[in-house]
Structures are given as C-alpha cells and as structure tokens.
C-alpha cells in the first residue's frame, strides 16, 4: 500500500508539470494569434486600412471642394500683416484648438472635427534658394501611428491680395508687398509667387 501510494504521488507531480507546460503553450499560442488580428478599430493595423483609406479620401475631398472656389488659396493668404501671423491665430503663429474662420477652416471643422478626427495642416513650399520649408497652419499634436496624409498643390501669384479677417480681399496688401508675410517669392522676377503644397495629416482619436 505504501509503495503504491508513493508511486501515485510522484505521478501526480509529473502530471501537474505537464499540465502547466500545456497551459503555457495554449496561452502563448492564443496570445500570439491575437497579436495577428486587429482588436479595436483604433489599433493601427493592416485591418483598419479601409478606415485609413476613407480618411485619406475625405481629406483630399475636403481640399478639392474648397479649392474649387479658391478657398485653399485664400486660406494661405489669410494673413494678419500687423501681427505677422494668420488672423486670430494664437501666439505660436498657427491655429491649435479652432480652425481658421474661413471656407477651408469651416470645411475641416464640419468634416473632421465633428467625427472626432484630429488633424494637422502643414504648408510646404520652396525658398528662392531651392530649400524646402514647412509652416504649420494648424497643429494639434503628434499624429498617431495610423495617421494618414492628403495633399494638394496651390499656386500663389505675385499680385494675389492678402485676405482680411472678414474674408474680403485687402485693397493694398499683396503677397509680394506685405513685409511680414511668411511665403517667400520662389520665382524672383517671374509672375508666380510660390507653389504651396497643403498637407492635411488626420488620425482618429
């Protein structure tokens, strides 16, 4: 009886070890399998590609529809000459909380803000030396891993007027004769002032 009982005890330990090893294998393989799939719509993975595509097309669509009426060009020229920044922009020189009060800003607000999408807007342009420069029009922080970018190119001519805070064209100030305007003349002597690439970087929050 004592022999038999002792043998049973040893086998019990062996079984326990085997069970632990099996459980470990099971848990490890399940967690490995879970990593392969997307769990939430917010996690950056290949399976949320649809949503990213949608977001990219939305961004491109907003810019295309605004530029159809020249709104993108006007948003770039929405400049406060005396304060040397965009109209009503905070001290940093670019918008943060609220988008600008013009057609582009309102379209962004209607399309993206109301769907809990955060976005940054950058203006990329060239200096006359040929260097590339970037200016923030609107900045809401570092984009997440699944941010998408849409861009559109806008041409600004030498005699295009600056836009006043109320959205009307300034009678005297143009992009060329305003002293504080950020956009340099990339084509000195030519009729084109600069070619600006407007980039909207958007991500879900």
């Amino acid at each position: 009886m004592s022999d038999r009982r002792g043998g049973v005890d040893e086998r019990g330990q062996g079984h326990t070890l085997e069970a632990v090893a099996a459980a470990f294998l099971l848990v490890a393989s399940v967690s490995f399998a879970l990593q392969m799939t997307a769990v939430t719509p917010l996690s950056a993975s290949t399976s949320s590609q649809h949503l990213e595509n949608q977001l990219r097309y939305t961004g491109a669509g907003v810019m295309a529809s605004v530029e159809e009426r020249g709104g993108l060009s006007r948003a770039i020229r929405y400049w406060d000459e005396s304060d040397a920044r965009f109209h009503d922009a905070p001290d940093g020189g670019y918008y943060t909380a609220d988008p600008p009060d013009n057609a582009f800003g309102r379209a962004l607000n209607r399309t993206l803000d109301e769907r809990n999408i955060a976005y940054n807007v950058h203006l990329v342009y060239e200096r006359s030396s040929g260097d590339r420069a970037q200016k923030r029009l609107l900045y809401r922080g570092e984009p997440s891993d699944h941010a998408v970018r849409a861009s559109r190119t806008v041409t600004i001519m030498d005699r295009d007027p600056l836009i006043d805070a109320d959205g009307t064209e300034n009678g005297t100030l143009t992009v060329s004769n305003a002293s504080t305007y950020f956009l340099p003349d990339a084509d000195t002597g030519g009729p084109v002032h600069n070619v600006v690439r407007v980039e909207v970087v958007a991500w879900r929050i």
Binding site: G14, A21, F32, M36, A186, G190
Partner: protein, 321 residues
C-alpha cells in the same frame, strides 16, 4: 496497478494535444492574417497609383487657370513663364514622393475680355448709352460670364434684365437669361434655344454685392439649376444651350437700364467684339474690351515606377459644358 497505467499515458496525450492545438492556432493566425492582407489590398482600389495622375492633372489645371487669370489681368506674355515655374516647383515637390511631373505650355487661343467694372457699379448700358445693345457678334465660345450686383440695383419682374445669345443669321434661335428680384429672392429664368424653360430662386440676405456666375451656374455661392441642368427634367440649360455647335452667336443685353453693377466675360475668337458699343482699354464707367487669353493648352506628363501618363490639358476656366 492496472488502473494506474492509463494515467501515465494520459499525461503524454495531453502534451501532444497541447502541441497540436498550438500548431493549429499558429496556422489559424496565418490564415486570418493573409485574409486581412488580401482585404487590405482589395480595399486600396488600385495599387499602381494611377488615380494620382488624374488627381494631379486637376491640380495642374487649376494652377494654370490661376496663371491665366493673372496673365489676362496684368501681363499677357507672362503665361509661359508662369507655367514653367509651376511645372518646375510641382516636379520638385512631387519628386519627394517618387513621382516625376512635367508641365509645359503648348499653345494659347486668343480671345477678348469684355467688362464693365465701374467702381460702385453702373447700369448695363453701351458706351453710347443704349439700354438694348450688342456686346459681341459672331462669337464661337464664351467663358467666365459673371454679373456682380446687389438687391438695390436689381429690377422687378416687370422689366427683367436680359442677357441673350442669338444665333448669328438666325436671331429667333436664342438662349435668354432673365434676372429680377422678388422680395429677398433673386430669380433667374432661362429659356433655351431648344424651347426649354427653367427658373430658380436664391434667397440672398443683406444689402451687399453678390455674384451671378452665369457660366458656372452659381448665384451668391448657391447652385442655380436653371443655369446648369434643369432640376426635374434633367435637360441642359447652360449658357448658349441650343445654339448648334459650329455656328456662331451674338451676345446681347436687353433692359440694361434696369440693372446696376459690374459684369465681365471672355469671348473667342478675338475680333468678335462690337466695335461701336465698346471702348478700348479700361476706360471707367463704360463697357470696354481688352485682349485676353481664351484658352491655354499645356502638356502634362506624370511618371512613377509603375505609371506613365501623358496628355494635353485644355484650360478654359469658367466655360459652360
């Protein structure tokens, strides 16, 4: 003893089962992942990126239209230089994304800009003071017909302002736009040469000026189906609808006394203006004509490692379809 042996064996079976399950899970994960990857590729529409070529073509068209407006306003010879700069800067910007873009001016079509932009607005009379008169004869194409006015300058329904396109030689074949105001509404009625009639009303608030963009079919920023395509019947209504293609037309104003404001348009060919009713250059207070570019043709090439696309783009901003 006999009942203990199977327990020994069961431990091995459990281990083997665990291994098998693990392998199955890994295999399943691979299958799911490949399904997701397939879905990902499928959701991208087209992988080669040919839609970018078309998107960018639209942006080039808009940039050239900007340059054309500048050339027509300030310096007609500047268009070539502008297109070169636009092409150069676009290509250096796109080169970052692995795309090569080439834009160059091929040719331009001459036209004439007809306008009356007296500051503060004036009645739409000819330079000789006529209220019913011809702006241009023998016109083939017209673009950017824009009327700027305000409520206090609009006529009532009794004497509406009329803009007509009459087929040259067949004056009964006529497209007519009538404009009047009805309290806060601006009413536009269009009769085409095909016999269709359509009317649209747009409420315009305030006493300030607003634009009636005739060729784009937009009144104070709102679509007017009577100038584009009839909302219910779907028939075309835009500028000069019904004038047979290939024949020319005259552009006339009737009841020009009744309305006030500014207007402008670009017509082709150059020389179709009316020499007696228009003055040359930008004389103030009277309608005038200046030389303008009607159409620009640019060559556009787009190349990536997967796509090569080349076409000629005709840029005529504000031309009715």
């Amino acid at each position: 003893m006999a009942d203990l042996r199977p327990r020994d064996e069961r431990g091995q079976i459990l281990l083997i089962a665990a291994f098998t399950l693990a392998v199955i899970f890994v295999a399943l994960a691979l299958v799911i992942n490949s399904a997701i990857f397939t879905e990902n590729l499928a959701s991208q529409g087209e992988v080669a990126g040919s839609s970018e070529a078309l998107t960018y073509q639209d942006q080039v068209r808009q940039s050239v239209a900007e340059a054309m407006a500048y050339a027509n306003r300030y310096d007609e010879s500047s268009l070539g230089a502008s297109v070169d700069t636009i092409g150069g800067q676009s290509s250096s910007q796109q080169a970052r994304g692995g795309r090569v873009i080439d834009v160059s001016l091929v040719s331009t079509t001459d036209g004439t800009r007809i306008a009356d932009n007296a500051s503060g607005g004036s009645a739409f009379r000819s330079s000789g003071g006529l209220s019913d008169w011809n702006l241009a004869d023998g016109v083939e194409r017209t673009r950017n017909v824009v009327v700027t006015t305000r409520h206090s300058d609009l006529p009532t329904s009794g004497t509406p302002f009329r803009l007509r396109a009459n087929e040259t030689g067949t004056p009964t074949n006529v497209w007519t736009m009538s404009v009047w105001e009805d309290s806060d509404d601006v009413v536009v009625r269009v009769n085409t040469a095909d016999g269709d009639v359509s009317e649209c009303r747009v409420a315009v608030a305030g006493a300030g000026t607003f634009q009636i963009d005739v060729t784009d079919g937009v009144i104070a920023g709102e679509r007017c189906h009577a100038l584009t395509r009839d909302g219910t019947a779907g028939t075309p209504m835009w500028f000069a609808t019904g004038i047979p293609s290939g024949s020319t037309y005259d552009i006339e104003i009737a009841n020009g006394d009744a309305i006030g404001g500014n207007y402008s348009m670009v017509v082709s060919p150059r020389g179709s203006w009316n020499a007696t009713t228009l003055t040359t250059g930008s004389a103030t207070g009277t309608p005038y004509r200046t030389d303008a570019i009607y159409e620009a043709t640019v060559d556009y090439a787009f190349r990536t490692s997967q796509v090569t696309y080349e076409t000629e783009i005709e840029v005529t901003p504000g031309e009715a379809p």
